[in-house]
């Protein structure tokens, strides 16, 4: 079932691609001096030499050893693995977009600029913010950029002592990492019994040294921070700003806005909420959106609509500067724009409503059999704990996850948030039907029954894959990172 490395099929002299012959006037090439020898490469690189069909079969085989949303349900919590419409893929192949150079004269790229400008307008409306930047290439990149703007804002105001960023214990790992990259100290905020921000703990940590609170709402337990207005008022009162991690916006888009909740800056994950494909780990896109307070600090250039058409504006003295090579992951922006056009104002609201409906439906089926430590109505995702299962039968969250692979599902997110021991986090998204959710729940429940009777079976899962569980320790101790 496995596939050898392509380099191991290599045979000297085979070719999978031919270049046209050089057709310059005879003699020019001969007369052209070579580069000075001290600049020339010494050692050739070892790359595959194979025929075109070898390449095609190799990568086709590798694709069959991969699993995406198109293959089956993918309830990976906090990643919003919803269906990626084929329309977006079709449009992203238009030569009128793929052959555009980022630095060609602006009079020849008005189509691209109009898409970016209109996307920014729509994202501003959806988030309740003033404007944004499309340059960040992923969610974590957006966080980095958002916090950089917060840094620049306080520097501009001379408030250099504001060096702390507050992050709830349930936050994504990228939040504290992004804060540290901007030179902030991270202070963790506790959660209360209900799984929400512990407001007393938060208030005790609010003082003149706080630059911002980073919050995901709904949070990673799938719960809406219902006291958000009190939270944002408290943070603002002490002079701090609020950062919204948009990873979970899919639960509330069209229903409520981070702007109304009091957030000053946020990032979106277009590859989650706006249905652009995840690509096996990227490219994503992580636009940052801001209110008027932070608008002057947005990355440059900005895009403006003038009488003469769309233009880039560079003269923005408070801007934090550029944050990526060109204008962002344009083909991802294009797909997100297509999704918004397709869904419209009612459609995005329907997406949120059905994502929440699906999560609650699946939870209602599973909570009869599994522990849901933070119960009640959830938003787009929920977390179960396998702690008791582990105590009684030695079955872990990972064992359950591996068992699901044999049933044809991508497992939920494991061991996150860390607040819940032996956590499995489910986000079914709006894309899945009631029949799929029923079948998924049945599979999980029968796995549970089997686990109780025959724990060894689940310990050995998965059985249907080309390899079983891999020796992670060996991978670290004896790193084999290239051929």
């Amino acid at each position: 079932m496995s596939e050898p490395l392509l380099i191991d099929k290599s045979k000297k002299g085979r070719k999978a691609y031919c270049f046209p012959a050089l057709d310059l006037p005879r003699g020019f090439e001969q007369a052209l001096p070579e580069l000075p020898s001290h600049l020339l490469r010494i050692k050739p690189a070892r790359l595959p030499e194979v025929a075109e069909l070898d390449v095609v079969r190799h990568f086709t085989k590798l694709s069959t050893l991969s699993f995406g949303v198109d293959n089956g349900p993918y309830p990976l919590g906090s990643c919003t693995m919803k269906y990626n419409p084929k329309l977006g893929e079709q449009i992203a192949q238009f030569p009128a977009f793929t052959t555009m150079h980022p630095l060609q004269d602006i009079s020849t790229s008005q189509g691209c600029l109009s898409i970016m400008y209109n996307l920014l307008e729509d994202l501003s409306s959806i988030t309740g913010m003033s404007w944004g930047s499309l340059q960040p290439c992923a969610g974590a990149h957006g966080e980095y950029v958002g916090l950089k703007m917060i840094r620049a804002y306080f520097l501009e105001r001379g408030e250099v002592a504001r060096n702390k960023v507050l992050v709830p214990i349930s936050a994504h790992g990228t939040n504290p990492a992004s804060a540290v990259m901007n030179g902030f100290d991270v202070v963790t905020v506790a959660s209360n019994k209900e799984g929400l921000v512990d407001i007393e703990d938060l208030k005790s940590k609010l003082d003149g040294s706080v630059a911002a609170l980073m919050l995901t709402n709904p949070n990673t337990l799938g719960l809406f921070e219902k006291d958000i207005l009190e939270i944002s008022a408290s943070v603002h009162e002490c002079g701090g700003l609020l950062y919204y991690d948009g990873a979970n916006l899919n639960a509330i888009m069209g229903m409520a806005t981070p702007g109304d909740m009091g957030f000053d800056v946020l990032h979106l994950n277009l590859h989650k909420t706006f249905s652009t494909p995840h690509g096996g780990g990227g490219p994503g896109s992580g636009p940052v959106m801001v209110n008027d307070t932070l608008r002057p600090f947005l990355p440059k250039p900005d895009i403006e609509l003038t009488d003469g058409g769309y233009v880039y504006t560079w003269d923005r003295p408070l801007s934090i500067g550029k944050v990526s090579m060109f204008w962002g992951n344009f083909l991802v922006l294009l797909r997100a724009y297509v999704y918004i056009l397709r869904m419209g104002s009612e459609g995005i609201k329907a997406a949120a409503a059905h994502a929440v409906l699906n999560a609650n439906y699946l939870k209602s089926k599973l909570e009869k059999h599994f522990d849901v430590p933070y119960g009640g109505v959830c938003m787009h995702e929920f977390v179960i704990s396998c702690e008791n299962l582990k105590k009684e039968y030695g079955i872990t969250a990972q064992d359950m996850a591996k068992g699901l692979i044999d049933e044809g599902y991508h497992p939920p997110t494991m061991y996150f948030p860390t607040l819940v021991s032996e956590a499995l986090m489910f986000e079914p998204t709006e894309s899945e039907s009631i029949e799929t959710l029923d079948a998924f729940a049945d599979s999980l429940i029968s796995l549970l029954e089997r686990a109780k009777k025959d724990p060894a079976y689940l310990k050995g899962a998965p059985y249907s894959t080309p390899v079983g569980r891999l020796d992670e320790v060996r991978a670290i101790k004896e790193p084999d990172l290239h051929y």
Binding site: S66, G68, A96, Q110, C137, A179, M325, N360, I405
Partner: protein, 451 residues
């Protein structure tokens, strides 16, 4: 309205709400107080059918115009085998996420392992990650590694010949962190390495340079690595990866970190993104490199398999102690580069680089004969070169008239640097994809305008 992306029927909704024990979907939003719930729909347009969207986007696309691009500056129009787009469009690649579940993601993981292997082979380095956002961000990550590798350091030295946007991204990186970017000035179009020695103070953690540099010129880094290592500093070289088929690899210059874009290997221009950043390092830096890394290991039965590894560096494990915040990378773009390299092989890569070299020199040689424009410096270059015009009026006319003939003649350097000293400099890029006919068309038009 029925949405094809949402499968629920009225009957489904009814059954689901009953099972949950609520009367309506609105009840599920009870934790949102009334002042938060929007009373109206958000002010964006109503939904459209597929056909309506296609027509609308087709109309917008007509406001773009394409020409024969002699444009580069970090994004190049090279030949790409048909295998690349076809295979990279396979849905199990496109619609998967980061391969956290190794057993069901062996294909993606193996493709990453092959990508890492090719990057190591081409750069000559020991360890590559599975991609970063782009070359500019790879440079920022290199700066982070440098600062983290030398105690009490707070400055990173960079060459003034870095791509202007890379330099800008590095300045953003430093903003508000207490770290600084110090620029080593250029002389005659290349880094002035004479000033390197005196610039290497205790606070300096390393040096980042680029070749081909912002002008397309090839730099000479003889003795640089020795000088840096003597002071406990790291050395990073940024390169257009295709250029490494001809010029010395970062490892051959003694670099610790190799960075850049793989756009020249299989990625479309795409208005500048997605590109794909690469980073490869020496073994000594293996546990400091940011981003995903795939390793080979075995399962319980001794079968070889691939998995994400060395994750103790990463944010989802280490949070505020992670080496970087990278989570999503540019996996699908890296896959395109892997398919591209698999199709070309080393001989194909050398051919593309060599033909680009010859064709660029052909155009440069003939343009340099014309009055009113000169090659700015007599320094070796590969596929891109700087031309200086004698006056700005002539330059504008040149660009306009060539555009009228469907030729995008080059990038004005000042559009990147916004500096008046660069206003008369045009950067012209020529790849193997430019046919003889296109070169002659360019030359004929140039002769007409510049006579």
């Amino acid at each position: 309205m029925v949405y094809p992306y949402i499968p629920h029927t009225d009957e489904d909704r009814k059954r689901m709400l009953e099972a949950i024990g609520v009367g309506s979907i609105e009840e599920l939003y009870a934790s949102l107080t009334e002042d938060l719930l929007l009373s109206d729909s958000v002010p964006i347009s109503h939904g459209r059918t597929e056909d309506e969207v296609l027509r609308m986007i087709t109309a917008i696309a007509q406001r773009n115009s394409t020409g024969i691009p002699f444009l580069g500056c970090g994004c190049y129009d090279h030949l790409v085998p048909s295998t690349v787009q076809t295979l990279a469009s396979l849905p199990s690649f496109v619609t998967a996420y980061t391969p956290y579940q190794a057993e069901m993601s062996q294909g993606l993981l193996q493709a990453s392992y092959e990508f890492q292997s090719m990057i190591c082979e081409i750069t000559g380095m020991d360890v590559s990650n599975a991609s970063l956002y782009d070359g500019a961000n790879s440079a920022a990550e290199a700066a982070t590694i440098m600062i983290g590798s030398k105690r009490k350091s707070k400055a990173v030295l960079v060459s003034g010949t870095l791509h202007p946007f890379t330099l800008q991204v590095l300045h953003t990186w430093a903003l508000g962190t207490g770290n600084e970017i110090r620029v080593l000035e250029e002389k005659n179009g290349v880094t002035d390495l004479k000033s390197l020695h005196s610039a290497l103070t205790d606070e300096v953690a390393g040096l980042i340079v680029q070749t081909p540099n912002r002008y397309g010129l090839l730099e000479d880094f003889s003795t640089v690595a020795e000088q840096l290592h003597e002071k406990g500093c790291l050395f990073a070289i940024s390169s257009d990866i295709l250029s490494l088929a001809i010029q010395k690899s970062p490892a051959e210059w003694g670099a610790d970190i190799a960075i850049g874009d793989t756009q020249a290997l299989g990625l479309p221009l795409a208005f500048g993104g997605p590109s794909c950043g690469y980073m490869a390092v020496t073994k000594a830096l293996m546990r400091k490199i940011p981003g995903r890394i795939v390793g080979a290991t075995v399962d319980g039965q001794g079968r070889r398999g691939y998995t994400l590894t060395l994750q103790a560096r990463e944010q989802h494990i280490k949070r505020e102690k992670a080496s970087s915040n990278v989570c999503s990378n540019q996996a699908l773009a890296a896959l395109m580069t892997t398919i591209h390299l698999s199709s070309l092989g080393w001989s194909g890569m050398v051919e593309a680089a060599q033909q680009s070299y010859v064709k660029a020199h052909y155009l440069a040689y003939h343009l340099a004969q014309l009055p009113g424009m000169t090659l700015v410096w007599d320094v070796p270059f590969w596929c891109e070169f700087p031309l200086r015009f004698s006056d700005s009026k002539k330059m504008r006319k040149f660009l306009q008239e060539l555009r009228n003939e469907g030729i995008f003649a080059g990038v004005r350097l000042s559009s990147l640097t916004r500096e008046t000293k660069d206003e008369l400099v045009l950067l012209v890029a020529v790849t193997e994809k430019r046919s003889r006919e296109e070169l002659e068309l360019y030359l004929a038009a140039a002769r007409r305008v510049m006579k």
